[in-house]
């Protein structure tokens, strides 16, 4: 009887230890799709394969193949920005155009654009700056065929840097929008 009580006591203590580790459920943190190619997007959008018409819900079949095909411009998901700026650089326009046309062709397609900044300056001002970077690309995509309801824009400010370094190279990599399609 005492053995059982002892075991129950230990189980309860372990359970409360685990519970005490966190007061909130911690959701799965799917990291944004990474694009290691810093610099100009490739020119001349080359989409392999044929489109298969409207696809309901999340990208499936050859649609998701196009999004993930390393030979397709659609697998590139990041646009980079100058310091203190949310102006979209000309060399990213082909990339943005390709994603806008993809959304135009798939009325059920949904994307989130996540805006990021480098580590310098106020956290809250950087939330707002990251949001402007995301909105700038969304606006361009809407001019190129995507609809308002297909794109959500959010900002991580400087909170989720891809590169934790404290130098120009790291900062450049972090001033960035990432495109994440629903279901990824």
């Amino acid at each position: 009887m005492q053995q059982t009580v002892h075991k129950l006591l230990m189980s309860a203590l372990f359970a409360s230890l685990l519970a005490a580790c966190s007061t909130t459920p911690t959701p799965d943190t799917g990291a944004p799709v990474e694009d290691r190619n810093v610099g100009a997007g490739t020119s001349g959008a080359a989409t392999s394969g044929t489109t298969t018409g409207n696809v309901a819900g999340t990208a499936t079949g050859s649609e998701s193949n196009r999004l993930r095909d390393p030979n397709s411009i659609l697998s590139k998901r990041s646009v980079y920005f100058e310091f203190d700026s949310y102006a979209v650089r000309d060399d990213y326009k082909p990339l943005i155009d390709a994603h806008a046309r993809y959304l135009q062709g798939d009325k059920n397609g949904r994307m989130t654009i996540q805006g990021n900044t480098d580590e310098r300056g106020s956290r809250e001002y950087n939330i707002a700056l990251g949001q402007r970077r995301a909105d700038a690309v969304k606006k361009m995509m809407m001019l190129l065929g995507a609809t308002d309801s297909q794109i959500e824009t959010v900002s991580f400010g400087k909170e989720k840097p891809r590169n934790p370094g404290h130098d120009e190279g790291s900062w450049t990599e972090n001033r960035r929008d990432d495109f994440v399609y629903r279901g990824e």
Binding site: Q2, H6, L9, M10, L13, F14, L17, A20, C21, S22, T23, T24, T26, P27, T29, G30, T112, Q114, E119, R120, G121, S122, R123, E124, Y125, I127, A128, L129, G130, Q131, R132, D135, E152, T153, V154, S155, F156, G157, E159, K160, H166
Partner: protein, 427 residues
């Protein structure tokens, strides 16, 4: 090993594990710069101060840490006085002390402790204060802070903040934790923890709730959490990003930055998120609202003029006035409680520092010398500003007095700490 001592060992080990995470994020506070003048004071160990946490030591540490006192060695006076009438002033002036504190602690039949002290001016040879408290032993540390507050107020003329609490964010690896500790860094309590970033904690002025921003939903969302129950509610989760909460002085409303209408703008709402009302309409970024103590105006950051600067919105009239003109990046305004000015972050030549601007003269004084100083929060007596800084690539907190002289560094072992928020004075 007997069964009961084995059980005791298990329980001890589990408690160590339970507290270890929070203990790693405990703040150690060191003085790195003292005030222009310091008051030499002797604090005689209280008679009967035999408890595990020495009350006298906490009083001494509080006063020394303020940077305004020089704690003089009180040893070697025999017999050791514990009452005002036992003090021989010559013993203390000969040690260079302008003031002396004596006291005693007496257990009561009901298990509580009577703590009494007297503060004397050795130069004028008179008593400045005498107070006694009857408290549970668990309240002895809090009582020491109250004693330090009385001494501080009598000798400086300003309210002490030793009984206040500080909130801050600690990051360790992938883990973020919002913690609330006593003003001396002790006893950090975890308010919320997450695998996603937490930022912008702000205390309701009545001290009962903290609003903060969490990225746990993969977008910035504003929460308000009760400190007594631990319960929390979402107060802003509109389309896009929701951030930068600011409490009204009566704790009934919040100004929050929302992007739901296309661009970061300021919105007023009730503390439960209802009754949303738009406050600003600029084509750019408006964020980082902060109420004045009289509730009549709000300072905020805006780039409506082409670069991030600080503006003031008068709530009654809706008039907006630009406050900062020097430099190309002035952000994160925080009103001083006496209404005479505000502190903010200023970028100059690539460095970010905390500065103070006087409303009447518009003069700016740069208070800090780091390279990445940010997130200032003003103590409720207006005398100290806590902020985030970095050293060797690691996030630390620091504090500076409003005249720039007293400097403190607050560090946590094995954690990056950031986003401090100084809690209110509570009656």
């Amino acid at each position: 090993m007997t069964r009961s001592s084995a059980r005791a060992t298990w329980i001890f080990a589990l408690l160590c594990l339970l507290t270890a995470g929070v203990a790693r994020a405990q703040l150690t506070i060191e003085i790195v710069g003292g005030g222009a003048t310091t008051i030499p004071i002797a604090i005689v160990p209280f008679a009967g101060d035999a408890y595990p946490l020495s009350t006298t030591a906490v009083v001494s540490a509080d006063l020394a840490r303020s940077g305004l006192f020089k704690v003089v060695d009180a040893g070697g006076v025999v017999p050791r006085p514990s009452r005002a009438e036992d003090v021989r002033y010559g013993d203390w002036t000969s040690r260079g002390a302008d003031a002396v504190v004596v006291g005693g602690m007496t257990p009561q039949p009901d298990g509580r402790v009577e703590v009494r002290f007297a503060l004397l001016d050795t130069v004028k040879q008179g008593q400045l204060a005498a107070v006694s408290y009857v408290v549970a032993p668990a309240q002895l540390r809090a009582t020491a802070h109250r004693i330090a507050d009385v001494i501080y107020e009598k000798l400086t003329g300003n309210a002490g903040v030793f009984s206040t609490r500080i909130a801050y964010i600690a990051k360790q690896g992938p883990r973020y934790e919002l913690l609330v500790a006593e003003a001396d860094g002790f006893n950090p309590q975890s308010i919320v923890s997450s695998n996603e970033p937490l930022l912008s904690p702000v205390w309701s002025p009545d001290g009962t709730r903290i609003a903060y921003v969490s990225l746990e939903n993969k977008k910035p969302v504003v929460y308000v959490q009760s400190l007594s129950t631990g319960g929390r509610q979402v107060v802003a989760n509109f389309r896009g990003s929701n951030s930068a909460p600011a409490w009204s002085p009566d704790s009934s409303r919040l100004v929050v930055t929302l992007t739901k209408d296309g661009g970061s703008q300021l919105y007023l709402m009730n503390a439960d998120g209802s009754g949303v009302q738009r406050l600003t309409s600029s084509g750019g970024i408006d964020t980082e609202a902060n109420f004045a103590a009289d509730g009549r105006s709000i300072l905020f950051t805006s780039d409506r003029g082409g670069s991030p600067q600080i503006y003031r919105l008068t709530l009654g009239s809706g008039a907006i006035e630009r406050m900062t003109y020097d430099g190309s990046y002035n952000v994160s305004p925080r009103n001083l409680p006496d209404g005479r000015g505000f502190v903010f972050v200023r970028r100059d030549g690539g460095r970010f520092n905390i500065a103070l601007q006087d409303f009447a003269t518009r003069q700016v004084q740069v208070l800090t010398q780091g390279s990445l100083d940010e997130s200032p929060s003003v103590a409720p007596n207006g005398k100290l500003i806590i902020y985030a800084s970095e050293t060797g690539g690691r996030g630390i907190l620091a504090a500076v007095s409003s005249d720039g002289r007293v400097k403190q560094r607050l560090t946590a072992a094995a954690s990056d700490v950031r986003e401090p928020a100084w809690g209110p004075l509570l009656k």
